[in-house]
Every structure is written in C-alpha cells, then in structure tokens.
C-alpha cells in the first residue's frame, strides 16, 4: 500500500450538513458516471435521501479534452427528505479544464472545487479554450480550490502493478471518488464490494481500482490542505426497507411485476434508442422470469411485434423515445382501432428530430395525445419520480388490459437515469390484475351461438379473446368496424358512433384513477402545476414558497389522458395557475382548452430539468404582481 497510511492522523474538524450537492465532471472516457453511481449507492446505503442527475454527451467518446466531451454526474444527498438533484453545487470535482469550463457556473461561491492539477497542461487548456491557466490567473479565487495531482498520485498508487499509463489512468475516477468519500465521511465498503464483484475475473484491474480508491481516501486523510470534513446524517424516511432505483430500472421491474400480477407472459419489443435502451437491456436479463425480449429491425417492427403479442392474448410492450414514437404512430392507430391492450413507453428526450438524445425534455405530450391520423385517443400516464415509474408501469398495464387500449407511459431522460431511494414493494401486496380470456360465445344469431368481438362491457371494453380458443374465431383489422359484430363497415353513422365510443371508453378511465392531489392548501393565490418528471423541483419550490408565507400549492399530473375528474375544480380554486413544463407549453394548451382556465405558463427547453430556484423566482414574480 501507499505509505500515506503510516503517517500519523492529522487534526480534522467535522462539520454537520443537512444536505450536500456534488458534481463529478470529466471527459466522457474518465468514468464519471461510474464514480457517480458508486457515490449514489454508498450514500443511499448510508441512509441519506438521494436524488441524482447524470448528464452526458451523446457521443460515446467525443475528442478527449474538448467541451463537447464533458460528462457529469450530479448527486444530492441529505439527512432530510429531498426531491431534486439540487440547484447549486457545494462541491465540484473536475478532471480537466473542459470540465471546469462547462461546470463552474453551477458551483456556489465559496464552494469546494477539486481539480486534477495534472491535466491542466498547455494543450489541455487550449482544447478547452482557456487563454490563461485558471489555476494561476486568480479567476478561481471565489472558491475553495484544491489542486490535487490526481493523475500522478493515482499512477503512483498503482505503480507496483506495472500497468501501462493508460490502464493506470483508468482508475483515477476511483481516486477522486476516494477523496470525496473522505471529505463526506462515506464508507469505502460498498464500492470495494462492487470492485470485487465487477473485476473478479481480472485481478490486476481489481487490485488497481481498490488501491486507487483507498489512495484517494488516504490522500484526504493526510493532506494538510483539507482540514474539514463533512457529515450528512441519515434521512428520516418512512420506516421500511429501501433500495436505490432509477426510472428505467423501475419500469423494467414494473413490467416483470405486471406479468406476475396479470398472470400473463410478457413480450418487450424495442429498437435501440437513447435513453430507452436500458429497459431492453435489463429485461433481456430477466429470462428466468419468462420475460421475452425482441430487438426488432426497426421501431415499427418493435411495436408490431408487441401488438402481435397482445393479439395473442399476452402482454405486449414497446419502449422508445420521441423519434421512435413518430415511426410507431400508424401502428398505435391500429391498436386503437382493433382495441388491443398495449403499453408504449416513451422515454422523452430533447427534440425535434434527433434533437438532444441524452438530454431530458417533456415535449412529446401532444404527440402522445394527438400524434396520429384520425380521431385516435389513447390513455396517457406520466410517472413523477424514478420510483414512481414502477407504480405507473403497473397502472399502464392495468388500464391497457382492462380498457383494451394502448397506454402511453411518458417517462423522460431525467427520470430514466436519475436515482432515488425506493421503498421496496412486497410481492403479495401488488395489485391483482389477473386476466381471464373469454372462452364462450357472447351472442346468438338465429339460435346459433356466435362471438361478437366488438360487443362491449360496462367500461366499453371489448372482449380479449386469445387465438386458439375454439368457436370464437374472428378477424380484426384497421378498417372501421361495425358496432358489436366487428365486421367491416363504411356506414357513415356507424363510423361516427364508433369514433365517439372509442373516445368515451378512454374518458371512462377517469372513473378508475385517483383524483388530482393538491400539495398544500386546497385553495389560494397560486397553484403550481406540472406533469411527470418535474415533480421534485415543483414540490420543493412550492414548499420553500410556503415557508416564506406565500399562498401557494402544487399539483402534479400523473394521469394526462384522461385527466383526473376533479381537475377543473382544483384549477378553479386558485386565483392563478402556473403551468411549469419542459416544453413550449403543451399541458398549458390542454388545460386552457379543456377547462377554460387562464393558466400562465413557465417553459424551459434547454435539455435540463428545472432548478428549484427558477420555479421559485417565477412564482414570486407572479405572486408579487
């Protein structure tokens, strides 16, 4: 081991902090995402509440050292309940000048800035567009700057292993992580366990990463420069057993749970697309649960296979992001017309077109609502947090199978990759979604038993008969159906009746979903409204405003089509309504259209989630006017 272990311990002061926001930033090859994930994991196991925001470029390896190649991982951990990854950084770790340049603006004045001094050479500075060295020109004097020779110290730490410099440098993310672990009193154990499992087949890499992590920690412990470390206590979460979960993980688990709850096999068909691919990857690992996955030849094939599965009487699910939804729209229309259950997961990203593949946005709402030919209503749901993705996935399956309809699940890049603590559900408490396919005829014609595929139940859902059922052979398709019989019909009045019936069926779902919940007083000056993944920022901003004495409440839509039954009532109880969304004002348009409410809007379309302060400022501006 490095000799630093033998050095007598220095005097260290410990300061308590309620919550801390840290960002690790470096080149996209520097392993910042892995280090961030480990920090998250360790903090969660320590009992902190956590919220994370990984932010990475679309290019796997943009030219090293350039601004375009900077990858960052932000984590907020706290001893109290938190809902966002934090607005402002308390600590920023940068592995090169490009990372400094793109991230410094988010660091609070007086915040801790740890830089890898070794990577501030002339060419590194030039690639990042620095004319002078910021470590020397006094421009960082507003921060607590720690210039740590991370690269060379790390190489030294692993020197005995005789790795190439390139291999040695691959561990420097763990050196930096070790230093953060010291600074914030985190245990090394969870990460050491991870290293042991992950690199069990590669002893030298295992050893190198172990040494790097420990060396970083020991550096913090021995260097005279750092004399304070920070303690963030356990959060007072509701009693229970927790794990860390991201939105994509929660969707994958939700689908496995849905297969269990319905008693039906499940096919997940997808085509690789950021940021949805992880759902496909994860489900492909769940073969032991009988889950089948298909990497289809394109987005259309993926939804086609999912609908084919649904037609077969099992759960058909497809997942993608906005561009994929464009390609799937014709098939969604077919599922609406043939009234088959289908779950469509849209992990939204910045658009239009290819847009910002790795960045978050909420601009697919109107596409999900209306992006098809003809009158083509579907149910639309939007989970509010990473953990909520699990519950809403089960909801999507429930509504799809009970109402015989496609259901959109609008997640986003922020939910997909962000993590939070998640109270682990018990299998015996999952909702009972058991499905029985009809086996008997449902009508008689001239005294003969017949099956009418479009004879509806009280909810207006048609029977879901699985092929293979004798006597119930029938044909469905995309041409307009005659009511009840399902035969092809071009009859004008029938078409209008069927259009209205399909719409009414979706509207009926409002009777079967929870009411819109108001966080704060049931009436007042201002209602802050959002949908889906912005929940944390809007709730936190509302709570801060309430503490300042403002008459403000918050409501987050998780059901967008249909909207909860009490929506109109809730909106009318507030003098002003502010709809905050990461798009140009799509929910606002819907609320104004449906409820004739003069809703104000606050839009952000930067590929980034809302900061709490942005909402707070906008709300205060309105409240003061």
């Amino acid at each position: 081991m490095t000799t630093t272990l033998d050095v007598p311990k220095k005097e260290v002061a410990v300061e308590e902090r309620d919550s801390v926001t840290i960002r690790l930033a470096g080149d996209s090859g520097d392993g910042m995402q892995l280090a961030g994930t480990q920090l998250t994991h360790t903090s969660a196991l320590l009992g902190n509440d956590i919220s994370t925001f990984p932010d990475f470029p679309a290019e796997i390896r943009a030219p090293a050292g350039t601004l375009a190649g900077v990858s960052g991982f932000q984590i907020h951990f706290s001893s109290s309940e938190i809902h966002t990854p934090g607005d402002c950084l308390n600590t920023l770790v940068v592995m090169n000048p490009a990372a400094l340049k793109t991230n410094l603006k988010d660091l609070e004045l007086g915040g801790i800035l740890i830089v890898d001094k070794d990577s501030f050479g002339t060419s590194d500075l030039r690639k990042a567009g620095y004319k002078t060295n910021p470590l020397e020109d006094g421009s960082l004097s507003g921060y607590r700057l720690f210039q740590v020779p991370i690269t060379s110290l790390n190489r030294e730490a692993v020197a005995e292993l005789k790795l190439s410099p390139r291999e040695a440098d691959r561990c420097k993310n763990f050196f930096a992580l070790g230093l953060i672990y010291w600074l914030y009193e985190r245990s090394l154990e969870p990460t050491l366990r991870y290293i042991k499992t992950k690199f069990s087949k590669n002893p030298s890499v295992l050893e190198a990463n172990t040494r790097a992590l420990k060396a970083g920690y020991n550096y913090g412990e021995t260097t005279e420069a750092m004399v304070v470390h920070y303690r963030v206590g356990k959060a007072k979460l509701a009693p229970g057993t927790y794990r860390k979960i991201t939105g994509n993980e929660a969707i994958a688990l939700g689908l496995v749970a849905a297969a269990h709850a319905t008693g039906l096999p499940l096919l997940y068909a997808g085509y690789p697309i950021t940021p949805a691919s992880d759902i496909l990857h994860q489900l492909a690992e769940y073969k032991r649960f009988g889950i089948k996955t298909l990497q289809a030849e394109d987005e259309i094939a993926a939804i086609g296979a999912a609908i084919g599965a649904s037609f077969g009487g099992v759960l058909g699910v497809t997942g993608t992001s906005g561009p994929g939804i464009c390609l799937k729209s014709e098939a969604i229309g077919l599922a609406v017309m043939t009234e088959l259950p289908l779950v469509i997961i849209d992990v939204q990203r910045g658009g239009p077109s290819t847009g910002l593949p790795t960045k978050t946005e909420q601009a697919d709402l109107l596409q999900a609502m209306y992006g098809r030919n003809g009158e083509c209503p579907v149910a639309v749901l939007a989970p509010a947090t990473p953990g909520d993705c699990f519950a809403m996935t089960l909801e999507a399956v429930r509504l799809a199978t009970q109402y015989m309809t496609p259901v959109f699940l609008l997640s986003d890049g922020y939910l997909a990759n962000g993590a939070e603590p998640w109270a682990i559900p018990q299998v015996d408490q999952l909702p009972d979604l058991h499905i029985e396919h009809p086996k008997e005829h449902n009508a008689e014609v001239d005294g003969q038993p017949v099956f009418h595929p479009y004879k509806r139940d009280a909810k207006l859902a048609r029977p879901w008969v699985a092929p293979g059922t004798p006597g119930l052979e029938h044909r469905i398709g995309g041409i307009e159906k005659q009511d009840v019989t399902g035969n092809i019909s071009y009859e004008p009045a029938n078409h209008e009746y069927m259009v209205r019936t399909r719409a009414q069926k979706i509207a009926n779902i409002a009777n079967d979903i929870p009411e819109l919940q108001v966080n704060g007083p049931e009436s007042g000056e201002l209602l802050i409204v959002g949908w889906g993944g912005t929940h944390g920022s809007l709730l936190t901003a509302t709570q801060r405003l309430q503490r300042k004495g403002y008459s403000v409440s918050h409501a987050q839509f998780r059901y967008l089509n249909p909207m909860p039954k009490n929506t109109g009532d809730v909106l009318k109880r507030f003098k002003k309504v502010l709809v905050c969304e990461l798009n140009g004002g799509q929910l606002r348009l819907l609320l104004r259209g449906h409820y004739l409410v003069d809703a104000l809007g606050y839009s952000k379309v930067q590929g980034k989630p809302f900061l709490v302060s942005e909402i707070e400022e906008k709300a205060e501006e309105i409240l003061r006017s």
Binding site: L45, P190, K234, A235, K236, L237, A238, P239, G240, T241, R243, K244, I245, V256, A257, L267, A269, Y286, K287, R288, F289, G290, K292, L294, A296, E297, D298, A301, A302, G304, A305, I307, G308, A309, F311, G312, G313, G316, E330, A331, G333, L334, T338, I424, P425, E440, P467, G468, T469, P470, G471, L472, E473, H474, R475, I476, G477, I479, N487, I488
Partner: protein, 343 residues
C-alpha cells in the same frame, strides 16, 4: 365452446363474409386452394392465424374462418413475429403482395426470414398496385405502363425468390394462381415446414395487369416457359420435356436433350442443399420472350432446409437460464442486491 371436429372441410374454413375481389381475380383461386390445403392438415382451425398488411391480397384473412388480423401496410411480418414468439402453438400465415411485402414492408420481410421465424409467408405477386388502382410495383417489368409510369417504368424489378434466399429463408417456393393442384401442394409443403417459409404466387390482376403471366398459365405455352422442380430429379422442361438445364462452369445453360446430351448431363435439383447458391441461381432465371433457348422460370420448391427456429431458440435460452439459476424470484428481484432499513 368446442373445437370443430377434424378433419375439416374447405367449407369449415370459409368465413361468413362476402368476398369482394374483382370478378376473375386470381385471389379467388388462391383462397379456394388455401382452404383445400389447410383442410388436409388435420390441424384445428382455431389454431390457425392469418395476418396480412394492406392491398388486395391483404383482405384474405377476412374470408377465412380462422383467427385473423388485417394490419397496416407492409408490417404484417412484425405482428406475426410477436405472435409466434409468444404463441408457438399457433400456425401463423402471413399474406402479402408485391407492394406490401417488397416495397413498404421490405425490411420486415428480410428480418422475419433472417430470424427463421416459423411463419408461412405467401406473397401474391401481380406486378402491380391493384387496390390503389394501378401503379407499377417493385416487381413490375421494365417498361410497364401504369398510371404512375405512363411512358413505361424504368426501374428494374426485384425477384422475390432471390430476396427470400438472400434473406436466409429456409423454405422457398413458387407456384401460380391457376395451377390449382400445384398450388395446393406447395401450400401444404409450406404448412408443414418448420421455420420461415416463403411462397411466391404468380397472380393475375384482371383489371390492371391482365395477362402478365399468360406465358406461365396458358396451357398451350406454359410448359415451354416453366420448369417444375422435383427434388433429386434433373431439371427438364418443355412441352415434350426435351430441354434441360446444365451447368457450364458456374453458369447455367439451356440445352436440347438428345444428340449426345442426356438426363445425366443435367443439373439435379437438390432442395435440401445447405449451400443456397444453386437455389439462388434458379431464382434468377427469367424467361426472355421470343428467345428459343430462353431460360424457363422455375416452379415448386427451390429450397427446404432445417435450421433452428426463432421461437424455439427464444424458449431454449429461457429454459437454460432457469436450469442454471433457478426460476425467477420476483421478491428477490424487486429487493435487489443492496438495501438499507429505516426503523
């Protein structure tokens, strides 16, 4: 309800829907022969599924008293793929046309065959778009005059069988709408094949492309223009079966039998050959009108090989995982590897 007792009659497979193709359309014959072929299978009709895309041929499922799904343009193989993966007990037929299957849906056709999905894909080739009232299609011959090519089409056609062989289909065959005995036999063979079966049917569009296959259907000339393939038999054709196909190096050539050339000199058809080269060569033979020594167009089964089937491989991986690691424990999955408890 109870299953219709076997064996079925063709009538048992007729739905109550009025058939609405144009009078004289080749599709009527294909529908009739399909019912005959399926009735002979000793397989329950509730386990048969017909999936189609868009086009005249794609109305087919409505007329079969089986399960059926009339989907969207070109995408039928995708629905069929998902269905067969999840319901291997069903016999899944895909009905498509030259526009549906080879133009808008080309990609899906390729990949369904590449995966060796256990589908019976029947492509009705009439070399024209019928339902949209007469535009040229990806199989139309150069010079085809249609509404969208009033001065003649300038694009070379695709050869459906070549596409199927290049896409690794494990059963590839061709027949015509009016040769009813041959049609029934080919459909039966396709039904019995395990894996992706591709059948091209020359089908006459009586309204927009009437007579385009006259050379292959008119009894007085067809034997000069077609070569019926038989496994293990020499490639012979002609009204008097006096012509054959012989390999000259890597190139096939038409030869007149007699005058020193006998059956022994001819290429012997081997539908089971693992190497698809000869099958591909057969798929490329196109009749040249007016050429005395023109190649014939082949009819029958070009290729029929046994390869692992997609849905079985999917299930095999599941079974292997369960065998290796035990069946999935949902509670353990939800709980994950690392947890903490708040009291």
């Amino acid at each position: 309800m109870t299953t219709k007792s076997l064996p079925l009659t063709p009538k048992d497979l007729a739905s109550d829907q009025e058939v609405r193709w144009c009078p004289g359309c080749g599709d009527y014959s294909i529908l009739a022969q399909m019912k005959k072929a399926l009735a002979s299978l000793d397989f329950p009709r509730e386990k048969m599924v017909f999936i189609s895309g868009i086009g005249c041929s794609s109305r087919f499922p409505y007329y079969m008293n089986t399960y059926g799904f009339h989907t969207i343009h070109g995408r039928a193989p995708t629905f069929a793929t998902g269905l067969k993966m999840m319901r291997p007990d069903l016999q899944v037929w895909v009905i498509t046309g030259d526009g549906d299957g080879l133009s808008i849906g080309g990609n899906h056709l390729l990949h369904a065959m590449r995966r060796n999905t256990d589908l019976k894909i029947v492509l009705f080739n009439n070399e024209i778009y019928g339902l949209t009232k007469g535009q040229y299609s990806p199989t139309s011959r150069i010079g085809t005059r249609s509404k969208s090519t009033p001065t003649g089409s300038i694009e070379g056609p695709l050869r459906p069988l070549s596409i199927a062989i290049a896409s690794e289909a494990t059963f590839v065959a061709r027949t015509t709408d009016v040769d009813i005995t041959h049609l029934v036999t080919v459909l039966q063979r396709a039904a019995h094949h395990k894996g992706s079966a591709f059948v091209e049917i020359y089908q006459n569009c009586v309204v927009f492309n009437d007579g385009v296959f006259e050379y292959a259907t008119n009894k007085s000339v067809k034997n000069d223009n077609l070569c019926y393939l038989e496994h293990g038999r020499p490639l012979k054709f002609g009204k008097d079966r006096n012509k054959g196909i012989r390999l000259h190096g890597l190139t096939p050539e038409v030869v007149n039998l007699g005058s020193g050339i006998s059956d022994d000199d001819l290429l012997i058809h081997d539908e089971k050959a693992e190497d698809p080269t000869l099958a591909f060569m057969l798929s490329r033979m196109v009749r040249v009108p007016g050429d005395e020594m023109s190649f014939p167009e082949v009819m029958g089964v070009l290729r029929a090989v046994d390869h692992p089937v997609h849905h079985e491989l999917v299930q095999q991986q599941i079974d292997e995982q369960i065998k290796k690691r035990g069946p999935g424990d949902l509670q353990a999955l939800l709980t994950g590897d690392e947890t903490w408890t708040v009291t």
